[in-house]
């Protein structure tokens, strides 16, 4: 991809395979995901920039590092691992990941938030976008859905499928999140991987100012999770987290894995970095151009 293509507001056709790769191998993927997030949001004229940009590295490793088993051409394949985006407002990063995996046409990203789109403002299962396992957007519900899926896989169907779920950190204020985690460890769901996007930001400000949810690590541990804290923008560290999950499942530890990923909201675009004001705003045209320019060197 040349620099003009990278700076372009248009979507390109590049896709990436899902395979074991070295840490450096994730950077071009995460960067293309970030560019697509900017391209979608500037077209939509509304939506969430901060969370999606900040979690793009997590998604790159999860979808493109061989951790989640899926078939881009058949996202209904019954052996697939499933991902639930409990923080539904972060939909653009999931949509960009699925597009860059080849699950649906990349140019369709241009329809984000438009009438009748498969890329609803918050994931809508009724629109049948390949890879969307459930509707979400009411915070705190997705993680319980994921626990239900993991129970079906492990306790009833007795297969080795994996269920991944990402929550925000503000989202942890919903008490039902902890009900879900309690049941994940009660039912010994070592096939369940919970990722927390710990950017310390939410709509009204920093997480401890809005309602303190810390200490997160000790809470998750005391709820029975195997907790691993990783730098959310360091691919080797993210891989360490997902590898630990795979080991937990393979060894049958009976513990759900909780990856606490330390991230910065808006990471990758310097004027958005670590600013909670970017939680729910799209870039203007000028800001999008500046963001794509910054993201074009990779």
């Amino acid at each position: 991809m040349d620099v003009t293509t990278k700076q372009s507001l248009e979507f390109n056709a590049t896709t990436f395979p899902n395979e074991r790769r070295s840490p450096e191998g994730f950077l071009p993927i995460a960067t293309e995901i970030r560019r697509d997030i900017i391209r979608m949001l500037v077209r939509a004229g509304s939506g969430h920039s901060g969370g999606p940009l900040g979690s793009a590295d997590i998604f790159a490793v999860m979808y493109f590092g061989g951790y989640m088993r899926y078939r881009p051409e058949d996202m209904q394949w019954e052996g697939r691992d499933r991902f639930v985006l409990s923080a539904g407002h972060m939909a653009p990063v999931m949509y960009a990941s699925l597009a860059n995996a080849g699950c649906y046409p990349k140019e369709e990203q241009a329809t984000l938030r438009k009438y009748n789109t498969r890329l609803q403002g918050h994931p809508g299962r009724d629109m049948h976008l390949p890879g969307i396992e459930t509707s979400s957007g009411s915070l705190g519900q997705g993680i319980s859905i994921a626990v239900g899926m993991a129970m079906a896989d492990k306790l009833l169907d007795k297969n080795d499928r994996r269920v991944f779920c990402l929550t925000g950190d503000g989202e942890l204020q919903e008490g039902s999140v902890w009900e879900a985690v309690m049941s994940a460890s009660h039912f010994k769901l070592d096939n369940f991987c919970w990722i927390i996007d710990n950017n310390d930001c939410q709509i009204d400000g920093r997480v401890p100012d809005v309602m303190n949810v810390y200490p997160i690590v000790e809470k998750a541990q005391s709820f029975g999770c195997d907790v691993i804290v990783v730098e959310g923008h360091d691919y080797a560290d993210l891989m360490r987290g997902f590898d630990r999950f795979l080991q937990n499942q393979a060894n049958g530890t009976g513990k759900p894995t909780c990856i606490v990923a330390k991230t910065y909201m808006g990471h990758g675009v310097s004027f958005m970095n670590d600013k909670f004001e970017w939680h729910g705003k799209p870039p203007s045209k000028d800001q999008a151009v500046a963001a794509l320019e910054e993201l074009s060197s990779i």
């Binding site: 004229g45 938030r113 403002g121 918050h122 629109m127 957007g137 009411s138 989202e171 204020q173 309602m211």
Partner: protein
Amino acid sequence: MELLGQKPTRFGFGDGLVVLGERHSNVVVLGGDITGSVMTSLFKDKFPDRFFSIGIAEQNATTIAAGLALSGKIPFFASYGAFCALRNADQLRISVAYNEANVKIGGGHAGISVGPDGATHQVLEEVAFLRTLPHMTMIVPADYEEAKKATIAMGEMVGPAYIRFGRSPVPMFTTPDTPFELGKANVIKDGNDVALIASGALVWEAILASQELAKKGISARVINVHTIKPFDFATVTAAARECGAIVTAEEHQVHAGLGGAVAECTAKNAPVPIEFVGVKDSFGGSGEPEELMVKFGLTWKEIYASALVAMERRDKGSSGVRAIKDVPSYA
């Protein structure tokens, strides 16, 4: 009825709260991590000591509000209606309504006019739920001024109350002098051929429909039911008797909201043909607000067409009873 500009009803809620804060030292506000969008930030800036951020925890906020109310405070909790009417439904039912706790809820971003956020955020069912709760007062203001008056009124009455307001700008047509009394529907245009009974943003659409009907020589009565509960049975029954045909219009499921209340009232007191304008038993979806109002059939055009149908059914006699083959699967 004159168009005085456009403003979102949520601004009326925010401004009303500030007035209440000035008048009553026991008014307190709870935030649910969207204080800017639902305008409680205005109160927070003015009265920081009486504002408490509860975070993203609507069930907790609702029940904390009940505890504050049982301690003599007048707590307001506001969030998106999707999350502060239904996520916390049990808390509203037992801790608030059954307790008759003096809790006030502001449900913002209601209806499909939220736009691009999509179905999860477009609450279209809460009027149905709230109007079945004993002791609850349920208000759906039609414009900015009315939202402001309603907010003040709900703060100054005693008992649980809920106000529904929207995100997008809507036409303003009431003034500070327009009468507003909780539980008393406003007849904003007289007429005897058909009654257009509306709430929220659909009141303005009903006014537009009445103007189109007038061009055909049809005089429509336009009624703004800003208080869904307690319901104004007298005004609606009189409209049924005097007009003999009714159209209801609301930015809500056609089931069990304002249309349901009107149907219950008239079936008992004065049965007449009714046509229902609303979202027809479906979830919303992403799109621009005006576009969605057209796609989901929530404009004056549907009210106009429904008025003709209701009158035709009346004029055919036998109360416009439909042939079984013409009975639709929804209202």
